[in-house]
């Protein structure tokens, strides 16, 4: 374990270069491990990044295998920790799958179990619905039937694939047998189901999270409007990071929508477009990784009193998913804004820290020592 030296000082003084270096958000349930991130190190083994672990301002980096020795873990976390190591999962999508499947067993509690089952059902339902949409769009494109006709007898669509004439048209247009074509459609449907389509009345997770970020930003602004003092600068910083992330995520989503809007064309050209589609989706999931618990944290705090909201701001600040520099260089128009943000991040002072030095407030420490002496 290292703190304040080596890897730690590197993290403290610099913002991450890549999403991988920033690490993937890990949904541990042990309180000390809340908002922790995991990432592969130079030797491609996993390590954990623990911000403000044990109440200090240092960021601890510990080998993945050492975690059970660092703190007492809940049963769920022990099993989750073992499953992540076994599958060497380092992406948001892989971590989410492990988490949902484990939570759905109920080993993490009844409430997470219900939520995980709903999420898995939702993923499956969306995947099927997206695949079906693709089939219908392709069949309409081939002139096999109109969209209303196909929607009316949606259950017969799989059976239509066995029709000789349909198979022939698919072969002519897509150069695939009906079975291979259907397999490809299922794969595209599964990939696209995470992003959904513009105007979806019930948008999937990633698209909904961009909207939630907008609400989060507005709520923070609304609250900070009535505040004075240092906390305003902290909230402004969070608002800026949220705005930048939401803008980048929105741009990725728009690029993805443009690439996948022509559904029959997408199916025909999947081999060519696949890397670009999965690239946009991958960046989108990395951009939004770690934001859902922060939005949730704020939504819970907003129902509480002033002190609770201040506490939430502090917690959000320490886990704020700062955009990696390499990622920002790809969008030159916003580089200046990002540089400004990174400069700001190094300069702001957290709650209970001395304004000039960034060290813990000495007066507060004395007060705690006094209180300890009194008891």
């Amino acid at each position: 374990m290292s703190a304040g030296q080596g890897t730690t000082s590197h993290i403290l003084k610099q913002v991450p270069t890549t999403f991988e270096e920033r690490g993937v958000s890990l949904p541990f349930t042990t309180p000390e491990l809340r908002l922790t991130r995991g990432r592969p190190n130079e030797r491609r083994t996993l390590e954990l990044v623990l911000p403000k672990f044990a109440g200090t301002n240092a960021i601890y980096v510990v080998p993945w295998s050492a975690l059970p020795e660092v703190t007492s873990l809940t049963l769920f976390d022990r099993l989750f920790h073992a499953a992540v190591a076994e599958r060497r999962a380092t992406t948001p999508g892989a971590i989410r799958q492990i988490h949902l499947r484990m939570a759905a067993t109920g080993v993490g509690g009844g409430v997470p179990q219900e939520a995980a089952r709903r999420a898995l059902d939702d993923d499956h339902r969306r995947s099927v619905a997206t695949s079906l949409d693709l089939v219908i769009a392709c069949f309409v494109d081939l002139g096999l039937a109109t969209e209303p006709e196909l929607r009316d007898r949606v259950n017969q669509v799989p059976a239509m694939l066995k029709d000789h004439k349909v198979a022939q048209r698919l072969d002519e247009r897509y150069g695939l047998t009906a079975t291979d074509w259907y397999g490809q459609v299922i794969e595209i449907g599964r990939v696209l189901s995470f992003a959904g389509r513009p105007g979806d009345p019930s948008p999937p997770r990633l698209r909904a999270l961009i909207t939630a970020l907008g609400r989060f930003q507005a709520a923070l602004k609304e609250w900070s409007g009535g505040l004075v003092g240092d906390v305003v600068a902290m909230v402004d910083f969070i608002v800026e990071v949220v705005g930048l992330t939401a803008d980048r995520a929105d741009a990725e989503l728009r690029a993805l929508d443009a690439l996948t809007d022509d559904r029959p064309g997408l199916v025909a050209d999947w081999g060519q477009r696949r890397p670009a589609v999965t690239g946009h989706l991958g960046r989108l999931s990395w951009l939004l990784d770690g934001w859902a618990p922060l939005v949730e944290l704020w939504e819970t705090a907003i129902a509480g009193d002033h002190d609770r909201r201040l506490g939430a701001v502090d917690e959000i600040l320490r886990a704020l998913p700062i955009l990696p520099t390499a990622e920002l260089r790809t969008g030159t128009a916003q580089t200046g804004r990002a540089d400004h943000l990174h400069w700001q991040q190094r300069r702001y002072v957290r709650l209970y820290e001395d304004w000039r030095t960034g060290r813990p407030d000495a007066a507060l420490i004395r007060k705690i020592e006094q209180s300890e002496a009194d008891t």
Binding site: L73, R78, L79, M102, G106, E222, L310, D374
Partner: protein, 437 residues
């Protein structure tokens, strides 16, 4: 000619889309609602807006009614938020019953004191109006007493709530000063200033009338963080109080808070619906109060306070031992037995229900030794762990899939392993999951 706004439609929109309405729209709507006048429609609209107003805290138009409510505004709660315990509360429903009876009289006073014109003067604050408000609240105090006799039920809760309103009106000026500090606080140091202001006012009242000082402490305790935070403050104050009378006053208030808690514990003991009445947070609060009260009473050397603290601790521990623990164990055993009987898939709701009951143990177990309840709690948890382990074994024996692997066992009985973890700890639960059968 412009059409009159459809208030019912506005209210429906507000209730349905309160989270999505733009801040500026709410700020525009608020004066419109203020102009409706003090009636049921205004009340309904304000109720619909309240979730956002709680966050935004925009400046509100001061009306006769609002001025009247000002000293106890921080104690106002909706019917569903009323909790048992020592925190004073004033249900909005009570005021809705009382206000029409006293409105005429209050408005006359309002006019006589020329508060309307005074408030329209620029830069004049409520604090500057305080000398005139004091008379307004003094008359209000008498009117509430009279009105309550007509419209309030004769039960103990209503009497207590009326006494709270009366006390707040009598101590309106002092309460308002503490409230102003409360509204301005941002950081930890501001909380210290708030406590200093409280003690300054408390000492003045204590010198004049100890009963008022005692009531004042209870009325502003929610602003200072509730009875637990109040006891924490009092405990610190008792250590540093230099004036005898101040220290005595502090102990007197601590005694009063503890006496109120004694009554609350008495009221709860033996109730069949105990677990619905005592939520886990209340239990945690009581444990912290117990922890603060003992050293404070001992250090003070005040025999009355030592007796009150002793009574509280004895009653609280007795209540845990005789009422809460047996009831918890019986309830959990009943639920676990139900799981054994069922052959199908475990319902997430059932598991969540039992987890909710285990939450009491999670709060109580770390303190059990100190309270002299270590053995009872350990025995209780061991019996529950054995019961859950038996259900797990039964489930795994009858599981449809393979249970030789860890994954198979988790999939067959994940929720039950979670319950075992709550009863026996995560290490024991991990051993049970990973041990070959």
């Amino acid at each position: 000619m412009t059409a009159a706004p459809d208030l019912a439609a506005i209210k429906q929109t507000l209730v349905r889309r309160i989270d999505q309405i733009d801040t500026t729209a709410i700020l525009k709507l608020l004066p419109m609602v203020g102009r409706i006048g003090e009636n049921a429609v205004q009340t309904e609209l304000l109720d619909a807006l309240r979730p956002r107003l709680r966050v935004m805290r925009p400046p509100r138009t001061l009306t006769a009614q609002r001025l009247f409510y000002l000293p106890f505004e921080h104690l106002l709660v909706n019917h569903d938020q009323i909790r048992l315990g020592a925190v004073p509360q004033v249900p909005r429903a009570l005021l809705r019953r009382v206000w029409p009876v006293i409105a005429d009289h209050v408005l006359k006073t309002h006019r006589r004191l020329d508060l309307g014109n005074a408030l329209s003067e620029r830069d004049l604050t409520v604090v500057e109006l305080e000398p005139r408000l004091a008379e307004y609240w003094e008359r209000g105090e008498r009117l509430v007493r009279a009105a309550a006799a007509h419209v309030c039920h004769d039960d103990r809760a209503s009497q207590r709530q009326t006494a709270t309103v009366v006390g707040c009106l009598r101590l309106g000026g002092q309460t308002l000063k503490v409230r102003n500090h409360f509204m301005m606080r941002t950081f930890d140091r501001d909380r210290d200033r708030l406590a200093d202001r409280f003690f300054e006012l408390f000492s003045q009242l204590n010198a004049r009338n100890p009963d008022d000082a005692e009531q004042f402490a209870c009325l502003v305790s929610p602003l200072l963080g509730g009875p637990v935070a109040m006891l924490r403050l009092l405990s610190a104050r008792a250590n540093v109080a230099t004036l005898d009378e101040d220290a005595m006053g502090t102990r007197r208030v601590a005694g009063s808070v503890l006496a109120e808690l004694n009554e609350a514990v008495d009221a709860l003991a033996g109730r069949a619906d105990l677990l619905e009445l005592v939520d886990v947070d209340s239990l945690a609060d009581c444990l912290e109060i117990e922890m603060l009260a003992v050293p404070m009473a001992r250090r003070s050397g005040d025999q009355a306070l030592i007796r009150t603290a002793g009574t509280f601790i004895a009653r609280f521990v007795g209540f845990l031992e005789s009422d809460l623990l047996p009831m918890l164990e019986a309830r959990i055993r009943g639920e676990v037995d139900r799981l054994t009987a069922g052959a199908g898939e475990l319902a997430a709701g059932d598991i969540a229900g039992i987890e909710g009951l285990f939450a009491y143990f999670q709060v109580l177990a770390p303190e059990a030794e100190r309270l002299g309840l270590g053995d009872q709690v350990s025995i209780c948890l061991r019996r529950l762990a054995e019961a859950v382990a038996a259900v797990i074994a039964h489930r795994l024996d009858h599981a449809a899939g393979a249970t030789a692997t860890v994954t198979g066992r988790i999939e067959a009985a994940g929720g039950l392993f979670r319950l075992y973890e709550l009863a026996a700890g995560s290490s024991a639960a991990f051993r049970l999951v990973t041990a070959p059968r």
